[in-house]
Symmetry: C2
Subunit: 675 residues, 2 copies
């Protein structure tokens, strides 16, 4: 009976709301509806029954309605998440949390034809380490290009922690265009992220090694191992990194971790946290403390404070030493010339996150229950007050600013604070790995008044499932975050999804942050079963303007007209020159021209393809059996493959995209006559 | 005012429903709810407001509530979808349509450590074509292992159309265990699917080629090009295909397409459709009709009817010719001995789908508006009535049964019928590519009475977005389909999702088929942005029983105890023997033992890893920079890598899985002294 009364109450509340949002509310509703779906507000007659049958709680129903995307309605936000050791980038619609695309970056991806004969092969080859081809990466931190501290939707950058490489993705076609290998570092972590106008893409280090990863025994750790931060110059005109205008800064062999760029009041500066100021070198097998213990002895490590505009001046003034082709500002120069400063940060920090206005840097200490908030203004005053006679220096000669002189506040959040992002209401959101929660807390200073609570106070701890690593907020790394959503990047999923074997998916949880106060709720669990994302950025979808089709004859590597493009099947031809055979092929629904290719074993084959279609989604594929070749030929694209016909035989090449009802009939024969 | 009245009406209906499902409905609801979410039935107070603000129609709301999975609730069905030219298999939860895992099959996948140094390398190497490594595939048709015509949840098989290969995936750990290369064929299509007790995995052909893809000019098409169907013997005890007990059947150079196995009354038989009975050879560049036209001239092609038990007898009796190590039943033998029969099927068919009881075979003609239903009983009678003197034969001597003698019915559905699946209510569902619809129609014979309608009649055409290729039903390829859901595998998505560039995702649409009659509705749009699935099977989740962790020391390739497994860090060691260095490494949160490896450039390194964890989800990774090595070490797993240390230098190896708060500290140094 009590339940019945409760249910009646719910119905009455519901009725009231629906009445209240009657005619007046219809207009926006009608506007927000999309062709195909009727725009009538309210609930279907069987909705309550479905909810009852499926055991959905009231919160479940609300979450379902907040995340469901009717067919054809487009997600208002797009999240770019790293793929971790998958070596890729994931493109996810928010709030529906559907994977819209996986972008091949450091790992070949045949659906995109990336690394199976076409332009991708040359791009992947840029990522070689010495003589060794590296066909995977450990993508960590995607960074969207920015203009005046706002995402501009033009480019995405991503680092490979495992081999110290940075890739450039063009958001005109969501494809990787460039990979640069760092000549001084063999691994990285504190990147990629950009300066407020994408002047530079920053690649910060992780595990110390000799410069250029030369051989040196770890016994020489303090003397010969170093950290290297690289500022890669980005050329917007070409859409490529220009290594010839890039430079690096030498750092002590602390394990520098995550970095962020100053913005607005702190523009021109960079901040990186670090661990292993203990200079631990491990060796558990010899009775030494393992790295996990050795690096956690000190109560504090060093926040790295870098004046990158000063560093740029030194580089342009030639105050560098060029090693392996990379101009390097040596550590003593950086210390002497005011490029590098330190200030203490609590135990085993992870993340150094600059507030939207650039006033503060927030650092979480994994083994400290607090986040520590540093004031940029105080840092500047402390630097100004430095006096050569009295200043403290670390053992590598870098000036150390006292914690008292730089700290604005500390907020106790709980166990394992890792990473902090921001919204439009003056809240900060910190992931707590050990507590498995998202902590919402208040900023002070200029952010006071945006939220109803006291500054620098914990507002809510929302449990997430489980072991949250990083966290992402809508437009969260810009000068003007949106609010509305935070995504928890949970590393363990354990019991959240059906069992798919000992290797479990991760769990992205969408969190509703639209209301102030103690109101955060988990809206959606999204499994990630092909990657281990470490970090993500979320951009407003309307900031992106990708191509729908390529202009006919576009080379995807240069994004220019390809000299070998053809404009019609009549231009298709095969030209033999000695044992070089060059083919110009036309591709259109649903046949290849030519359909017969006759060559001799040992011939060198150069094969150009142009998809003549200009209809959106009229993509063709090209598969050549036995030769490890597969291309994705989107409308207008021109691709070229080159190989030696080492095996004789009869090979039917065919279209791998279901392009029409007669797609199975889109084939030809590659006949290789034996010697 | 009218709106207000309508809204009131909705509220009253709603109220009535909620009352009706008051206390009585609470019990199942409470049971089905999950810890953390309250189990109270009904709708949250703000649900209506959310629906109004987001412009959700009543149908949208119902669809949202039917597909939303509260955190921790598990999908009742698991769909295995091919990854097309991605070369992978996708594991999807139904009805939430979330990708739970991508399984690396023919393409290396670094998140799983598949093909980057560990056991996967040997498996991928089994797939070589001649001297050429093939590191992608065009996966088309996943086939779940069956017992008595029911999915048993033990194994999954998948073919590579591009190179005529078949892979075996063990569903104990959702990992690929074997790849076999067909020695007689260079491409396939009509597979992989299984006989009712998984005696054989069938690999049917696609584009004709000389046996063993030997060189022969297409001018010799009729004389020298052939189709090859292979019956791969599966050994359940070892969980592997046994090539030594497998055999093939030679077919005419028609393009055999999709196949299915008879079941129950038709057990022992196989059925494949075909196209290009015209023996068209293309050559549009020389003024010939392109394949797409040349293969579409005839009004009918040939349904292939194969007696596989008879073929098995011939193979065991030695009535074969062994070519390239594969026993082959030649075409004349197959024709003479009653292994192979033909019967006409309408224009450019695609799909030959056996009804749950095995009574009928349904074929869709892409260029014919009908599906044609063949009766197995009539086929048997027609075969029995064959008379050597009077029988019709095709130009290769294969007996042809008249359409009148084999056809049960034809149903006109619309444009481009491709593929047909079944439910538990006597309905068939056919994808219509050109109409972009899912057609529901009624079966007759023993299925009459399960549905209210007349037999062999069209019931509903449901629009889908867009260009549907294949279609999958819950347990749809078994002897006892479930009903409830059909998934439309749409090849084009065009305007369904946010623009992610010229290469668009596909669109899987979940269709509600739970009610009879004209009631099908699209529930959910799922983008597929990393693959082009061609076919899928959907199994009840409770039929799967994967491992949660490996017993400590399990070798993932053999699934047996690995001789190089260790049981504790105390057993970790490095042993040098000349220039061979062998390492036994212990892996546990959060350190490696040993943390220092000292070798010389040119040394040959054999490195064994054992993850000592038995906690679910306590996976570690192992990345070695510069050497293209990354392993996924799930709890209990033992892996071995082997390589030559060709580059000198200092390399920090580290754990690539975020395994604990101190995961960043899980590293060691690999020091390679130069010669």
């Amino acid at each position: 009976m009590k339940k019945l009364i409760l249910l009646c109450a719910i119905v009455l509340v519901l009725a009231a709301i629906i009445m209240a949002c009657g005619p007046g509310r219809q207009t926006p509703t009608r506007e927000s509806a999309v062709g195909g779906t009727t725009s009538q507000a309210g609930l279907s007659a069987d909705a309550a029954q479905v909810a009852a049958e499926r055991g959905l709680s009231p919160d479940d129903v609300t979450a379902a309605l907040k995340t469901f995307m009717p067919s054809g309605q487009l997600d208002p936000y797009i999240m770019f998440a790293s793929g971790g050791q998958g070596g890729q980038v994931l493109v996810v619609g928010v709030p529906s949390m559907r994977i819209l695309k996986l972008i091949g970056v450091f790992t070949p991806e045949p659906w995109q034809g990336y690394g199976f004969g076409g332009a991708g092969n040359a791009i992947l080859a840029q990522g070689k380490v010495g003589d060794n081809e590296i066909l995977w990466g450990d993508t960590h931190h995607p960074g969207l290009s920015e203009t005046n501290g706002e995402y501009d939707g033009q480019f995405l950058f991503i680092n490979d922690k495992a081999n110290a490489r940075v890739a450039v993705i063009d958001l005109k076609d969501f494809a990787t265009k460039q990979i640069v290998k760092n000549p001084l570092a063999i691994n990285d972590h504190g990147g990629s992220f950009v300066t407020p106008n994408t002047e530079y893409i920053i690649e910060g280090p992780q595990y110390a090694a000799p410069l250029g990863w030369e051989y040196s025994d770890i016994a020489n750790y303090k003397e010969e191992y170093r950290g290297v931060m690289t500022l890669w110059k980005f050329d917007r005109a070409t859409g490529r990194i220009d290594p010839a205008q890039s430079f690096s800064i030498e750092l002590p062999p602390y394990f520098q971790d995550l970095c962020d760029a100053g913005k607005k009041v702190s523009d021109g500066w960079l901040f990186c946290n670090s661990f292993n100021t203990e200079l631990a070198t491990g060796g558990v097998e010899d009775g030494n403390p393992p790295f996990e213990a050795g690096t956690a002895k000190n109560d504090t490590d060093y926040l790295h404070i870098v004046n990158w505009k000063k560093a740029e001046e030194l580089y342009k003034a030639g105050k560098v030493e060029t090693i392996k082709g990379m101009p390097l500002i040596r550590l003593d120069t950086a210390a002497k010339e005011g490029v590098l400063y330190f200030t203490p940060e609590p135990k085993s920090p992870h993340g150094a996150d600059v507030t939207p206005g650039g006033e503060y840097v927030v650092v979480g200490g994994k083994l400290d229950p607090h986040v520590t908030i540093y004031s940029f203004d105080k840092i500047q005053k402390a630097i100004a007050a430095l006096n050569e006679g009295t200043m403290t220096k670390d053992e590598f000669g870098v000036p150390v600013l006292s914690l008292d002189s730089t700290m604005e506040a500390q907020v106790e959040l709980g166990l394992g604070p890792l990473h902090t992002v921001y919204d439009d209401k003056g809240y900060a959101y910190t992931s707590l790995f050990l507590d498995s929660v998202v902590a919402r807390w208040t900023l002070g200073g200029p952010y006071q008044g945006l939220h109803p609570e006291e500054p620098w106070t914990l507002v809510q701890k929302l449990p997430v499932q489980y072991n949250i690593g990083h966290i992402a907020a809508a437009e969260g790394d810009t000068s003007s975050p949106d609010g509305n959503y935070v995504v928890a990047l949970n590393k363990w999923s354990i019991d959240r999804f059906a069992n798919v074997g000992p290797l479990l998916p991760q769990n992205f949880q969408l969190v509703d942050t639209s209301q102030t106060g103690d109101t955060m709720k988990v809206l959606y669990d999204m499994p990630i079963g092909m990657a281990e994302p470490h970090y993500a950025q979320i951009i407003k979808a309307d900031k992106l303007a990708p191509l729908e089709v390529y202009p006919v004859g576009t080379n995807p590597e240069t994004m220019q007209q390809d000299p070998n493009a053809i404009t019609g099947p009549d231009q298709a031809k095969v030209v033999r020159n000695g044992n070089n055979v060059e083919i110009w092929m036309a591709v259109v629904r649903s046949h290849f021209t030519p359909e017969h290719i006759r060559i001799k074993q040992g011939d060198h084959v150069i094969w150009h393809f142009t998809n003549l279609e200009q209809t959106r989604d009229a993509t063709h594929g090209f598969a050549l059996p036995g030769y490890n070749i597969n291309l994705s030929l989107e409308p207008g694209k021109t691709e070229t493959i080159e190989f030696d016909a080492n095996m004789s035989g009869t090979y039917a090449y065919y279209c791998t995209e279901f392009c029409s009802a007669l797609h199975l009939e889109m084939l030809g024969y590659f006949m290789v006559e034996p010697n």
